[in-house]
């Protein structure tokens, strides 16, 4: 399917608007978390890292799961737009992974007494990060667009298969990492004011994901439209 420059530009514009709104939302999350949410008695102010660490982890895992789902659709339909969307989602997922992998140790050091421990949750998360780093590296190494899309779709699907293991690792293995307080069968286990801040942050990070991915996807569409124009 041919993509026009106008369609690509429109997609980029929508993505940037959504990203701008989400960045304003992130400022609101900072104010809520730092100013209005109470300090946890046992963990102290460091517990507030939770309000950015958990939503960043949510956004990263969602991004990687979407890469896999969109990759399955690509292998079925062979529409290059799906390949571009999967690549955009992977790049944005990596950005959120960097947030998750830096804020995690900053929370772990004062609470666990160590920056890092090789337990199941942390190790699997690091593997997932490297896997999608490999996904993007693979894309830069292949010149043929059809070959690039096919190979990276397979890697994307394999990466998606790791996502449930990351989420369930706290149940499957003995781990230092706390169990989920939100994504679990029973009701959320935290005071209402903390839950409100967490849910707001999850919503903001979800919109950030959408805005960033749409922008990155539009940039890829624009590149393709310009290549087609040059070739024509």
């Amino acid at each position: 399917m041919m993509v026009t420059r106008d369609t690509a530009r429109r997609t980029i514009r929508r993505g940037l608007i959504l990203s701008g709104l989400a960045l304003a939302g992130l400022v609101a999350v900072y104010v809520m978390a730092l100013r209005y949410t109470p300090v946890e008695r046992l963990q102290g102010p460091a517990q507030k890292i939770f309000y950015i660490h958990a939503p960043a982890a949510w956004a990263a895992l969602m991004a990687f799961a979407i890469v896999g789902l969109v990759s399955i659709l690509y292998l079925w339909l062979r529409d290059t737009r799906l390949d571009h969307f999967a690549a955009a989602s992977a790049e944005v997922g990596l950005a959120f992974s960097v947030v998750m992998l830096t804020t995690g140790p900053l929370w772990g050091k004062p609470i666990w007494g160590t920056w890092w421990t090789w337990d199941a949750r942390l190790t699997l998360t690091l593997f997932l990060f490297f896997l999608f780093l490999g996904y993007l590296t693979l894309r830069t190494a292949l010149n043929d667009p059809a070959e690039r899309a096919r190979f990276s779709a397979v890697v994307g699907i394999l990466g998606m298969l790791l996502v449930p293991f990351v989420h369930l690792s706290v149940y499957l293995f003995r781990t230092l990492h706390p169990q989920p307080v939100l994504l679990k069968p029973s009701a959320p286990s935290m005071p209402p004011e903390m839950l409100r801040t967490l849910l707001t942050s999850v919503a903001v990070f979800t919109v950030l994901y959408l805005g960033f991915t749409l922008t990155r996807y539009g940039i890829a569409l624009l590149g393709e439209a310009e290549e087609s124009r040059d070739a024509g």
């Binding site: 960045l23 008695r41 102290g44 950015i52 929370w107």
Partner: protein
Amino acid sequence: MQASPPDNAGYMIVAYLVTAVIVVGYAWSLWVRSKR
């Protein structure tokens, strides 16, 4: 007597700053790439 929370605000401040740098930095990189 109830113990007061530990004083570890430094870790929290660094985490929030690092997050802002990564998120705003990535948004800026997208903005620059979209203008090329």
